[in-house]
């Protein structure tokens, strides 16, 4: 179903293809090595890969017991997180899948015991409350019918069975029509125990929703663009974040403004140049998928490319700073491309609002105490090329990839759920992850 996210990067694309043919254990190892080698980089690619892998893991899992499912996902998740602890979205997706299984298990539990409430109970629980209602409605009904089927077949309590079928019967007619459509992509579920089928199917459904969300998240965020970008504003941004680009493009369809783009020199400047000029690099990951996307300049937006060092000089003319991020922490701080912190600081000094756009999936239930542990250091040769080899021997070259930006430098977060103050993020965290999964 999320065909748009499929062929993203060579790393991600090839992984997703191999997922269909390789056995689970190989796929897990594959992803672990991709993560370790940093062949999958961007947050969204990592999240997508994790979600697909977990769907695969759950679907081939022989066990029927939710507890065992949880255990299995936990072990896989632990290995993935251990492979690349700084890629927090991996942990986030694992947490959400765990939460999903727990919800389903509880639901199932309730369905069996408190049947009269089953219909009303399933409404708030199953769709995990983050997707738009339009898509969750048919799914919801679908799940209900599935549950009905499962309960019917397992039928451990015949007395209750009759009552349940009373509720589910009219909707059972939907199941032959709607289930093939929604289940066919993940339909490798040969004969399992009948009682497990509902939980697992729903979990798979839920993971599918997460994957969908990952595919749509940028567009959902972009839909808030017009509220935040006005005519003739001067917007400053940094690095080539797809989310930010879509956000700006959306606003560019209606408004005229100017974008000042800092190039984020050693680590991402080529992508930035490609984004700005609209000439795709071709060989590089993430962007190639969005290469068809028009650059801002094609929509008549003036884009001024500057070196990172000129940020302070221009900040006095900037109306708004819009930043992408790598991951967002529960305290409202964020981990973003190196150089973001000085930009945010310069904006604060000039009283310029700083807006961070980020999908909810980047929101991590992590309270940082040791900031250094969040920072990854990259290839020093990007800072000092090998032509200066004599220097490299003598001096210590540093190339940090990420910056930690404290919450007080950010004025607003825009996620796919809307705009939030940094201080509100902990609440969204607790909405999205269950307590028992925070450290799984």
């Amino acid at each position: 179903m999320p065909s748009t996210t499929l062929a993203l990067t060579p790393g991600l694309g090839s992984f997703l293809k191999s997922l269909k043919t390789h056995p689970v254990e190989t796929s897990i190892e594959n992803l672990i090595s991709l993560l370790k080698r940093r062949q999958i980089r961007h947050s969204r690619s990592c999240a997508t890969a994790t979600a697909y892998l977990l769907r695969h893991v759950v679907s081939v899992c022989k066990t029927s017991d939710p507890l065992k499912l949880i255990e299995r996902v936990q072990t896989v998740g632990r290995r993935l997180v251990a492979a690349q602890p700084r890629e927090m979205v991996v942990g986030n997706v694992v947490r959400r899948v765990l939460g999903l299984i727990r919800d389903e298990a509880e639901d199932d539990h309730e369905a069996e015991f408190a049947l009269s409430e089953a219909g009303s109970e399933s409404q708030p629980q199953t769709p995990r409350a983050f997707d738009d209602p339009s898509s969750s409605l048919p799914l919801d009904r679908d799940m209900l019918s599935l549950r009905g089927e499962g309960a019917e077949r397992s039928s451990s309590r015949p007395t209750l069975h009759s009552m349940f079928s009373l509720l589910s019967h009219p909707e059972a007619e939907f199941s032959p029509i709607s289930t093939p459509g929604t289940q066919s992509p993940n339909g490798r579920m040969p004969g399992h125990g009948p009682g497990s089928k509902d939980v697992k199917a729903e979990v798979l459904e839920g993971i599918g929703e997460i994957i969908d969300e990952l595919g749509q998240v940028d567009d959902q965020i972009a839909s808030y663009a017009l509220e935040h970008i006005h005519s003739n504003e001067i917007i400053l941004t940094h690095t080539s974040s797809t989310t930010v680009q879509k956000f700006l493009l959306k606003a560019a369809t209606k408004r005229k403004f100017t974008v000042i783009h800092a190039e984020s020199f050693p680590n991402n400047h080529e992508n930035t140049h490609a984004t700005v000029s609209g000439n795709p690099l071709g060989d590089d990951d993430e962007l190639s998928a969005d290469a068809f996307q028009k650059p801002l300049i094609a929509l008549g937006i003036t884009v001024i490319l500057i070196p990172d060092s000129a940020v302070f000089a221009l900040m006095s003319r900037v109306n708004k700073v819009i930043l992408g991020t790598h991951s967002v922490l529960a305290n409202g701080g964020l981990v973003a491309a190196a150089g973001t912190r000085v930009i945010a600081r310069a904006a604060k000094v000039h009283q310029t609002p700083v807006v961070v756009v980020s999908g909810v999936y980047k929101l991590s239930p992590v309270y940082p105490f040791d900031f250094d542990s969040l920072i990854e250091y990259g290839d020093a040769s990007k800072v000092l090329p090998y032509e200066d080899g004599d220097l490299v021997d003598q001096i210590d070259v540093q190339n940090p990839i990420y910056d930690y930006v404290p919450a007080e430098l950010v004025d607003l977060y825009i996620t796919n759920l809307g705009g939030h103050a940094p201080s509100y993020l902990y609440r969204i965290v607790s909405d999205h992850y269950r307590k028992e999964d925070i450290s799984f």
Binding site: E263, S264, F265, P266, N267, H269, E270, H273, A274, V276, S277, N279, P280, L281, P295, I297, A298, G300, I301, T302, V303, I304, L305, I306, P307, D308, S309, A310, V311, F312, A313, L314, S316, R317, A337, A338, G339, R341, V342, R345, A346, V349, I375, V383, L384, P385, Y386, E387, D388, D390, L391, Q394, I395, D396, V397, Q398, N399, P400, D403, P406
Partner: protein
């Protein structure tokens, strides 16, 4: 609504204009044209208004008018009209009608003119309201045209060239774009001395870079100019040498805008020349001037640097972690002095694109045996984390106490002052008084220098590139040529970039409409980020700059 208004108008306009113009547009009562017609009428009425004065050029004038009205008409039909727009439209139509009625009367008097150029006569009577409207309309027309141009992928005509070139200067910095830097010595005046010619190119290519170095090099070149100078007959040295020098100065400033220090030095030199007694023989006058130059260099720069380095080195303590930005010669000297004094400290150099001046500093310090750490602007917050002091060089200090230095300096100073730990890192600026200026600057936009944007295109020399000896110097002329060729050639060669093994996405950025590259050289650091300015006259707070400047210039 538009429909209800239009018929009446068209009928009236038709009746009005019949005597003047029996031409095609109105003769057939057009059913679909009703909407654009009134606009076109009013347009043709007002746009050729200037052509009234120069009646001979009627045809020329009417052409753009027609184009404009077409564009406007297209724009008008595209959008649904808001009530306000409708009102405006109605007003314009009314004005047009009145014009026509008046015209009809006039035409009754002088019918001959009406046939040839109806628009020209229509335009005159209702002057004021229409002119604004015409302005608006022409703007509209442009707007309607622009997207077409943007969307057209390749078929760019030569007519687009000039507008595109203008495009590339960033509006906010519009006042700073002078003529582009001189690329060759061709066209330099014959009075320009060869030493100055060479220096000009060195300045342009950043071979001689840095405020003090430029100042010294200029003075030395001028010394040679003075040495080889002979006063022409009929003038005195003090009069003629100044103008002779100003030729050299003009040439230098076309290669790269003069630095503050250069300006101060030249001012002092000119003062010295003008104070030469006309009765002194030429040889001794020249000797005096050369001596003056030597003294100036020694006092203001060489010895001043030593004094500054000595006193700034005292600020360095054992175990310090010193952050510096780019490559300041005076900071280098300071750190080397401190190292020679046996102090143990670490230096963290922050560098920036496109000049990478910090590399040379890093090399010099590392060769001297210092512990050096090197990162770029993106690593400021990491480098500043364990810093204990920040040493900065200066291009100039402005009279309001602000530091005018290589772009990025302000970021470093700001990070030092706003560290998360709450402990502020002292920021020490090393600056000779010759760099003090009486100019003031509030932000980096009023005063600045814009370098060639093509310098940004070749990012870092790619590690695999073969045949590049020095990454900095040889690539630059190439770029310049590439950029020039691209902009001046009527048709961009698309194959050129594809033949290139790994072309930068920006390689032909000049063909991308709306894309601008900005390469400014300096920024202004607020005075509150600077704790101390170390000069040869002592260590001062930044607020003391104007006083010191006054003292040193009045000496």
């Amino acid at each position: 609504m538009a429909d209800s208004v239009d018929p009446a108008l068209t009928s009236s306009s038709a009746t009005a204009s019949v005597p003047a113009q029996p031409a095609s547009t109105i003769a057939n009562p057009p059913s679909q044209q009703t909407q654009n017609l009134p606009i076109r009428e009013s347009k043709s009425a007002k746009s050729p208004a200037p052509s009234d004065k120069q009646s001979g050029k009627n045809k020329d004038a009417s052409k753009p008018a027609a184009a404009g009205s077409d564009g406007a008409a297209a724009a008008a039909t595209d959008k649904p009209l808001t009530p306000a727009e409708l009102k405006k439209k109605a007003k314009a139509e009314k004005a047009a009608r009145r014009a026509k009625e008046k015209l009809a009367k006039e035409a009754g008097g002088a019918g001959a003119a009406g046939g040839s150029a109806p628009g020209a006569i229509q335009g005159r009577p209702p002057a004021t309201p229409k002119k604004d409207a015409a302005g608006g309309a022409s703007q509209k027309g442009q707007k309607a045209v622009q997207p077409r141009r943007g969307s057209a992928p390749t078929g760019q005509t030569a007519a687009d060239e000039p507008t595109k070139k203008e495009d590339k200067s960033v509006a906010v910095f519009g006042h700073l774009y002078g003529q582009p830097r001189r690329t060759t010595i061709a066209g330099a005046g014959k009075e320009v001395h060869s030493a100055v010619l060479a220096l000009g190119l060195q300045l342009r290519d950043y071979v001689v870079c840095g405020s003090s170095a430029r100042c010294v090099a200029t003075l030395l070149a001028f010394k040679r100019v003075i040495e080889s100078y002979t006063t022409p007959l009929g003038t005195s040295l003090s009069r003629h040498l100044t103008t002779h020098l100003s030729h050299q100065i003009t040439y230098l400033s076309t290669c790269r805008p003069l630095s503050i220090s250069q300006g101060n030095a030249i001012r002092a030199l000119k003062l010295a020349i003008s104070s030469v007694d006309p009765s002194t023989p030429e040889l001794s006058a020249k000797a005096t001037l050369c001596e003056f130059i030597d003294n100036f260099i020694r006092e203001k720069i060489t010895v001043a640097d030593q004094v500054i380095a000595q006193s700034a080195a005292q600020k360095v303590q054992n175990g310090d972690v010193i952050v510096t930005f780019a490559g300041s010669s005076i900071v280098k000297q300071t750190l080397l002095t401190a190292h020679k004094q046996g102090k143990r400290f670490r230096v963290s150099i922050i560098d920036s694109r496109p000049l990478f001046e910090g590399k040379n500093l890093a090399r010099a310090l590392a060769n001297a045996g210092l512990d050096v750490q090197y990162s770029l602007v993106h690593g400021i917050s990491h480098a500043i984390k364990d810093a204990t002091k920040v040493f900065l060089g200066a291009h100039a200090m402005t009279s309001n106490g602000r530091l005018y230095s290589r772009v990025g300096t302000a970021l470093v100073a700001m990070s030092a002052k706003e560290r998360a730990g709450g402990v502020e890192v002292p920021v020490i600026v090393c600056c000779e008084t010759v760099k003090f200026t009486d100019r003031v600057a509030l932000d980096s936009i009023v005063v600045n220098e814009i370098a060639d944007a093509d310098e940004l295109v070749s990012a870092q020399p790619l590690p695999q590139v073969t045949g590049l000896v020095d990454p900095e110097v040889p690539t630059k002329p190439d770029n310049k040529k590439g950029g020039k060729g691209a902009s001046s050639a009527p048709k961009p060669d698309p194959s050129a970039s594809s033949l290139n093994p790994s072309p930068s996405p920006l390689s032909n950025w000049k063909e991308n409409t709306n894309l601008q590259l900005l390469n400014i050289m300096y920024d202004v650091t607020p005075a509150e980020y600077v704790d101390m300015v170390v000069t040869e006259m002592g260590s001062l707070p930044p607020s003391a700059v104007p006083i010191v400047h006054r003292m040193s210039t009045n000496l």
